[in-house]
Amino acid sequence: MIASRRALLASLLGALALLGCDDGAPPSSTTRSEPWTADPAVLRIAGTGTGIPLVARLADAWNARSVGLPVVVEPSVGSTGGIRAARDGAVDLGLSARPLSPSEQGEGLRALPLARDAVVVAVHPATRVRDISSAALVELLAGRSSRFADGTPATVLLRDRDDTAHSALERMIPALHPAREQAYAHKRFRVLLHDDAMGEAISSTPGALGPFSLGAIVASRLPLEVLAIDGVRPTLAALEEGRWPAARDLSFVVRTDREARVAPFLSFVAGADGQRMIREAGYLPVPP
């Protein structure tokens, strides 16, 4: 009798425990996912989407020459992703739109300047407006206005909070920063996480405007228009002359032990053909 009662109690508790158990907390993590070794057959490049169209052009030209290891350009993983991939050896060259932090510099990484990219306000190609004042831009971002000067509706699109395009534009128009923070806080506008997603969103949304790379528009021949701000049109000349201060510097990031592997490709980029191709792609070459 007692034994059967105990068995019943045990069954009841067991059933309750089974009913209530969860999947368990994540186990303690490992520090690295897997050891990366250099692919003997190719050079891999990954990083910010801003520079991908340019690097893809350079890689195509390099591969066409068939003089060294072929270059493979991976889809955008962002500047930080590119730097980390280079640090781990997952790629041979990272592509960054921001300078290396002191801690990253301490991890045996070196930044090699590639080009300067103008950050512009891109609009849907059907938009008739081609010029906007910085004040009107702030009003749009702050949500106090939702129309362009000609009265047509405007749809603001944002990049993620840490994207370098915003900080570049805010160097030009500081009042954009608080308006943007407010927009994030109120989830006022759609946020795109990659350059290609932003390009597609602007080109497919009538009245859309958002921060974008001039070089990416030119290099990828995207069907987008760019707005002049306060009468200054974003061109390579304006960038070169300093009349368009919204810019960011693209650079390769390489681990010192991989420098020898990438040296032929970097020489090509630094060469006359490479520099010409950078300018043709809508970027301003930066001397190495």
């Binding site: 969860d22 907390a25 994540p26 186990p27 993590s29 996912s33 992703g81 997952a90 996480l193």
Partner: protein, 386 residues
């Protein structure tokens, strides 16, 4: 009579059953509620993990080699599309290297976790955990436990007091029935003894007295004189038997019925005591059973004797009425009331009246003042046989 004590017996056993039932109900409600809420949370976390797993799988398909390096964007996307402000979300690659960790930090043992494996090309490429703080669940369970305890207590009280009350009522009815049976048996026994005395000893003494009378007529004066004390003794014995028979069973009841017996007694008592007695008896009173009628008659006798002895009254009224299921007897005098006598204690007469009434399940109430005393006696009628 020894009390039945059914209620006490039942209460002791019922208390154990009720406490066990209350405990079982409380444990079941509390544990069941906690397990159910826990299960729902786990399923919610699993669903959230599967949803995020879909995003991770898409990221892996887009960047098969370098997806984990896009973790910042992946984290942004997870934060945008999930309830990460409430949940802790952990994404690890197949070798448990951290890829994304967002949301509030949780103590592993104080959280509820749901997991989803991210399968791409039939291979587990990543795992997603979604955790929720278990504290709100515990607070909710505490609230449920409190409410369950209250509900269990109320149910237990109901489970305990309802049957106990029913048993108590039943016990009273059983005691009343047993008491009526005892009275009935006692009256039947008294009737049997009275009959035995009347038909046995009484008849024999009467026969002896007749024989002595016949003998006396033919006896010499000397013998007749000696027979005289024998005749006297036999007459005394016959009188003793008659008194005993009357004491056991009032003969008037058998001869005249309850109404006639009371009326005759009142008339005789009035003549003997000098009291003015009015007697008002409902003529529709049916035969109420020998023990009820005997008790009623005896109570009238005792009440009138009490009035004559103590009340210093001039007038007495005796009323007997019938209600649906009882006889109502009222004896009222215009005497000095019980306040002038020993009010704090009942005399033997009143105690006898009360005992007779209560032995039949009835009751006595006394209303006394300086203007007189009224006794109200209720005698339940035995249930009619089906």
């Amino acid at each position: 009579m020894t009390p039945l004590r059914l209620t006490t017996w039942f209460r002791k056993r019922m208390l154990i059953v009720v406490v066990l039932a209350m405990g079982t109900a409380w444990v079941t409600l509390t544990a069941g509620s906690y397990a159910q809420a826990h299960r729902e949370s786990v399923l919610l976390c699993r669903g959230e993990a599967a949803h995020i797993g879909g995003m991770v799988a898409e990221a892996i398909r887009q960047r098969p080699l370098l997806w984990r390096y896009d973790s910042a964007k992946l984290a942004d996307r997870i934060l945008e599309l999930s309830a990460a402000e409430r949940s802790s979300i952990v994404v690890r690659d197949s070798l448990h290297a951290p890829v994304v960790t967002v949301g509030p930090p949780l103590t592993p043992t104080r959280a509820i976790w749901g997991r989803s494996d991210v399968l791409v090309g039939g291979e587990v490429k990543a795992r997603v955990w979604v955790g929720q703080d278990a504290a709100p669940l515990r607070w909710r369970s505490l609230a449920v436990a409190s409410i369950s305890a209250l509900v269990a207590f109320l149910l237990g009280a109901l489970l305990f007091f309802l049957p106990v009350r029913t048993i108590r009522i039943g016990e009273r009815r059983i005691a009343s029935l047993l008491s009526q049976l005892a009275v009935s048996w006692r009256e039947e026994e008294r009737l049997r003894i009275a009959n035995e005395l009347h038909d046995g000893a009484g008849q024999a003494l009467t026969a002896a007295r007749l024989h002595l009378s016949a003998l006396k007529r033919h006896a010499t004066p000397e013998v007749a004189e000696r027979l005289l004390p024998i005749t006297t003794h036999i007459d005394e014995a016959i009188e003793e038997v008659r008194r005993s028979t009357c004491a056991l069973v009032p003969p008037a009841l058998a001869d005249l019925g309850l109404r006639g017996a009371i009326e005759r007694h009142c008339e005789a008592f009035a003549g003997a005591s000098g009291l003015a007695i009015s007697c008002d008896i409902d003529p529709s009173i049916p035969s109420a059973g020998s023990h009820v009628e005997t008790a009623c008659y005896r109570i009238v006798q005792e009440a009138l004797t009490n009035v004559a002895r103590h009340a210093q009254a001039d007038r007495v009224s005796v009323r007997l009425e019938l209600s649906e299921d009882a006889l109502h007897l009222c004896v009222e005098d215009d005497g000095t009331g019980m306040a002038t006598r020993e009010a704090s204690t009942e005399g033997v007469g009143l105690a006898s009246i009360r005992a007779r009434a209560e032995s039949l399940g009835g009751e006595l109430s006394i209303h006394s003042s300086s203007a007189g005393t009224r006794l109200d006696v209720v005698l339940p009628l035995p249930p009619a046989a089906d």
